[in-house]
């Protein structure tokens, strides 16, 4: 990987924003942080915040609600998005692994791919662990994983030191044309290893998670345990909304006043009772326990690991934060292991 020294990440940002729509996480002044359009001339700082934003970058590619097609009674009209070149600036390693995971799931989806192909991904290594993360345990961070980003920003322990910029793809290299950068002199490999070791220490052993995954795959979690967990699931859809790898959607059809129909697709949640209910009323996942079990099997099942070459959980901890029932990933794994 080519490595450069970068005096200020804002200089790179301004360069990339010249020919692309650039998005960066910014605070909203009300306690929230969101991916926001940021202009080339923006004066706002770019900060290496260890906390990922409450929402991952999922919705940039797999839209929360989108029109799929229109039908006017005779013809179908595609609603394929026309996406201008864009760049996501400062994605954490965990969220990038999730994008790579979704890339596999939506490999044949033209709507997803139209957005994805138009996007340059600029990753950000973490120097410290975020509050609830456990990327070290799940091989998804804190260093941006090879192949998951086009460019990687590497903040430094020493605040006055220049940032480092790693080129991680051809698209990344092309994007730097016209930006003057000096080659890096620091031993960036050693720094990344030290960062990873530090974050792993901060995140600890994660014994509940490790043992919980083993128990799940060994079939050692009984139905009664799943039902106890299911009783705490309100089916709010929070976890599936914030999970960066959740990909379920439902169709929504609306008739227009001229006899036509438009079909939207909207984020769905497998925790809803009706998610798998069949027209006859039969439901293969009729109980809340079965549905909670299925959700976690998708995140930690070895079968899924075999298909996607990794677990479906990237260790961001967002489900812990949004779950009103206290059965986000740590809640579930703790209860499972305690039995």
């Amino acid at each position: 990987m080519q490595a450069y020294s970068l005096d200020r990440p804002e200089r790179l940002r301004a360069h990339l924003a010249r020919e692309r729509q650039l998005y960066q996480v910014q605070p909203d002044g009300q306690g929230g942080r969101h991916w926001q359009l940021t202009s080339a001339g923006s004066l706002c700082d770019f900060q290496a915040d260890a906390e990922p934003p409450p929402f991952s970058a999922k919705s940039f590619f797999f839209a929360e609600r989108e029109l799929l097609f229109r039908f006017d009674g005779g013809h179908f009209y595609s609603a394929l998005p026309d996406v201008a070149a864009q760049v996501l600036f400062g994605l954490h390693a965990c969220d990038l692994v999730a994008v790579a995971y979704q890339d596999q799931f939506f490999a044949g989806d033209p709507h997803y791919q139209a957005r994805r192909q138009a996007t340059l991904l600029v990753g950000l290594d973490c120097l410290h662990s975020c509050a609830g993360g456990f990327c070290s345990t799940l091989d998804s961070g804190p260093a941006v994983r090879p192949g998951s980003a086009d460019l990687i920003l590497l903040p430094r322990e020493a605040e006055e030191a220049d940032w480092l910029l790693l080129v991680a793809s051809e698209a990344g290299r092309d994007a730097l044309v016209g930006l003057s950068l000096d080659p890096a002199s620091a031993d960036w490999q050693a720094e990344r290893e030290a960062n990873s070791a530090r974050v792993a220490r901060e995140q600890g052993e994660q014994r509940d998670v490790v043992e919980g995954i083993a128990a799940l795959n060994a079939g050692r979690i009984d139905a009664a345990t799943w039902e106890e967990l299911g009783l705490r699931c309100l089916a709010c859809s929070g976890c599936t909304s914030v999970c960066p790898t959740c990909s379920c959607f439902a169709p929504r059809e609306q008739a227009d006043e001229h006899g036509g129909v438009q079909r939207e697709r909207v984020w769905d949640s497998c925790l809803y009772e009706s998610f798998q209910r069949e027209a006859s009323g039969h439901n293969p996942s009729a109980t809340a326990g079965l549905r909670v079990q299925r959700f976690w099997a998708h995140k930690f099942g070895d079968d899924f690991k075999a298909s996607f070459n990794r677990y479906g959980c990237v260790g961001c901890g967002r489900c812990d934060r949004v779950c009103p029932g206290g059965i986000g990933v740590h809640g579930v794994m703790h209860r499972v292991v305690q039995r």
């Binding site: 909203d28 009300q30 306690g31 929230g32 942080r33 969101h34 991916w35 926001q36 359009l37 409450p54 929402f55 919705s59 839209a63 929360e64 609600r65 009783l231 705490r232 309100l234 089916a235 709010c236 859809s237 929070g238 909304s241 439902a250 169709p251 929504r252 609306q254 909207v266 984020w267 769905d268 949640s269 809803y272 009772e273 009706s274 209910r277 009323g281 934060r321 949004v322 779950c323 009103p324 029932g325 206290g326």
Partner: protein
């Protein structure tokens, strides 16, 4: 994408949300991280809010009914029609002949404008809203015992409680973020006690579930209190310092035995004693209750019985304690606070007080009537008697949510003129002569007040559909046409400022202050400029609190040979009110169960019913058909139905018998009979429906 901070519009919890907007379209909703109430979480309804405000079936233009059909009309024509009709009614019957039903979903600004419109423009105190059918007994009961009907404490006090007592509230489903907070409190060691005739989710997770017989609340609360008094577990220091004499209550309860209480409520004596011990010995006990206390003909006395128990144990006036009625709508607290009640002006300033009337007459420049106003059910009755001619309903759906549907529908049909201000063409709007399209919460500025008295701002995220207008702007236009310019505010903040100026408990509140503190809890005045998280710390509004003797009152209608089942109503986590917003979500709509009548499996066997089989349900007031869901959520002999669904509107069955004090109808208990329909037959949605064609006046 832009994210506009706002407040969820479903229940009274008041969760902080961000509206995610793309190209003028709310594509989603996210929880506001670090919000003092919701702490970065939401329930299923909150997460689905984007569909609720979808332009899909929103009204975009005023509608006028001609020959039984609606036609689009200009604002000018529609407003003039409304003004003319109200003018005619006023001329014919005077101010008592017109009324306004305001809305617990609308903002404080809209509600302030609604009661000002009624009182200053129409000259009547005939203004009410649906608090009548949720917490009017709390307002009445707690006014008698404490002097204030709102939650005495804050939601965050749950974090400080040793014991959490929940009575008649399905908190994880209806106030999910409060339920979640209770579960977190239990996980850190608090004892969770749930009193409910149904095995709710929270009841199943509780340390103790008292599954009382439907309608035996006072027997239970009196029984618990008598155990406490008999053992000397009451808080004597608190009683001596803060309450009036408990002796009359002590004498009233002297004859009550544990065995009697057990027999009346169906709860084992040991459980009664354990709960009495835990509640009285806890350093901090947080008491929350819901419709399972208020929606009875004994609603006010039920509230008083809760208050007696809490006062006797001194579990109020400190952090981690309190009497906490959980309010239903996002702004039902605010609609009450704003004076959309026939007997009070904003801030509960009594209409009966000549000085108060004089103050508002001077401020508004309009004489104030000394004739008492009608409640919403009073207006229904007056309409049937021909004594109320013109009615405005803002955003409420009484046809689905009031008791005895056929009665309500025929009352609305008996009016000379009905105008409904709505987002969509609801069942109630269909009965109107004129329908005016309103803007949704995502399209306007304003404030909502959650159940812990926290006033919070909402902001426009998108443009309204078509020509829809804000409620207070509509009222201002009508006022002008009726010859009163007093509602011509420049913006929502100006409405708020006028209200705060006339309302002592809001006197130090401003929009800027609300922004700074993530909302402020009233009273917020010179003495409490940062608001008041805990009430009654030093004294009660009436000075010393009152412990008032009350006795068990059975439901008006008990099961008998003809109607053998006790029948109650409830709500589902996924739906809200009449479903006009939640049912627009394809996901929440999909969650609607096919079977809506909840019945114990053994009752099912006794009737020869299979799960999901179609049944007819009949009460003395109406009939409907649905499918039966066999579940041990309900005990034997008791049936329950959620009230969200127009296909099977359970309020066609419920009883209009009223609490004599608050006029709360007894929505929570009546008697029904169940008739199995043949296997394979589908229930008919229209069976038993009120027929418009059957009505002579149309």
């Amino acid at each position: 994408m832009r994210v506009t901070p706002s407040i969820c519009t479903f229940c009274g919890v008041g969760c902080g949300i961000g509206l995610r907007v793309e190209e003028g379209w709310v594509i989603g909703v996210e929880p506001q991280p670090g919000h003092p109430v919701s702490q970065g979480q939401l329930c299923a309804k909150g997460w689905s809010s984007s569909f609720a405000v979808d332009p899909g079936n929103r009204l975009t233009t005023p509608l006028i009914k001609e020959h039984g059909r609606f036609r689009p009309a200009s604002w000018d024509e529609a407003l003039q029609r409304v003004a003319d009709e109200f003018g005619a009614a006023l001329q014919a019957l005077g101010p008592q002949g017109v009324g306004v039903i305001s809305c617990a979903r609308a903002t404080n600004e809209d509600n302030y404008a609604a009661q000002k419109f009624a009182r200053a423009v129409l000259g009547t105190h005939n203004v009410d809203h649906c608090a009548r059918i949720c917490h009017s007994p709390s307002v009445a009961g707690l006014a008698r015992t404490l002097g204030s009907g709102a939650m005495s404490n804050s939601i965050a006090d749950i974090d400080l409680a040793e014991v959490i007592l929940v009575i008649g509230a399905d908190v994880t489903e209806n106030h999910a973020m409060i339920g979640a907070r209770m579960l977190r409190a239990q996980a850190r060691g608090a004892k969770l006690i749930v009193v409910d005739p149904r095995k709710t989710r929270l009841a199943r997770l509780a340390d103790l579930h008292l599954q009382l017989r439907l309608g035996s609340n006072i027997a239970l609360l009196n029984g618990l209190l008598q155990i406490i008094l008999a053992n000397g577990w009451e808080n004597r220091a608190f009683l001596a310092a803060r309450c009036e004499d408990i002796e009359p209550l002590r004498r009233h309860l002297a004859g009550v035995t544990v065995e009697q209480t057990s027999a009346q409520t169906g709860i084992a004596a040991a459980d009664l004693e354990r709960v009495a011990y835990l509640f009285s010995h806890a350093k901090t006990a947080f008491t929350a209750y819901g419709m399972g206390i208020t929606q009875f003909q004994s609603g006010t006395n039920n509230v008083i019985a809760v208050s007696n128990l809490v006062l006797a144990c001194g579990q109020i006036g400190r952090p981690g304690t309190g009497i906490n009625p959980l309010r239903g709508q996002n702004n039902v607290q605010g609609a009450c606070d704003m004076g959309c009640l026939p007997n009070v002006y904003p801030g509960y300033q009594a209409v009966s007080d000549p000085a108060v009337r004089a103050k508002f007459a001077a401020a508004w420049g309009r004489p104030q009537s000394d004739q008492s106003g009608l409640t919403s059910l009073g207006m229904t009755k007056a309409a049937l008697a021909g004594e109320l001619r013109a009615l405005m309903i803002m955003g409420e759906e009484p046809v689905l949510t009031d008791p005895d549907q056929n009665h309500v529908a025929s009352a609305l049909a008996a009016l000379d003129f009905l105008v409904v201000v709505e987002l969509t063409l609801t069942e109630t709007a269909r009965m109107a002569d004129v329908v005016l399209p309103a803007v949704a919460f995502s399209e306007k500025h304003g404030t909502f007040t959650n159940c812990e008295r926290r006033v919070q701002r909402i902001r426009p995220a998108i443009a309204p559909p078509g020509t829809a207008r804000g409620d207070w702007q509509i009222l201002a236009e009508l006022a002008t046409r009726l010859g009163c310019r007093g509602l011509d505010w420049a913006d929502a903040e100006a409405v708020f400022d006028e209200m705060a100026q006339l309302t002592p408990s809001f006197s130090a509140m401003t929009y800027a202050g609300l922004d700074l503190h993530q909302g402020l809890q009233w009273p917020c005045n010179a003495a409490n400029p940062q608001g008041s998280p805990v009430l009654h710390v030093e004294a009660f509004p009436i000075g010393r609190a009152r412990l008032l003797p009350v006795s068990q009152v059975e439901p008006d209608e008990l099961p008998d040979a003809e109607y053998p089942f006790a029948f109650t109503t409830h709500r589902l986590h996924f739906h809200y009110g009449g479903g006009s917003m939640t049912r627009k979500s394809p996901l929440l709509e999909r969650e609607t169960p096919a079977a809506l009548l909840f019945m114990h499996p053994e009752d099912g066997i006794a009737l020869g019913l299979r799960d999901q089989q179609a049944v007819g349900v009949r009460s003395r007031r109406g009939y409907l058909e649905t499918r039966v869901h066999l579940t041990d959520d309900v005990p034997r002999g008791t049936l329950a139905m959620p009230y969200h669904f127009r296909e099977a509107p359970c309020n066609r069955l419920t009883n209009g018998a009223q609490d004599p004090v608050s006029k709360m109808p007894e929505l929570k208990a009546c008697a029904v009979a169940v008739v199995p329909l043949a296997v394979g037959v589908a229930p008919r949605a229209q069976a038993g429906a009120w027929q418009e064609s059957a009505h002579a006046s149309l």
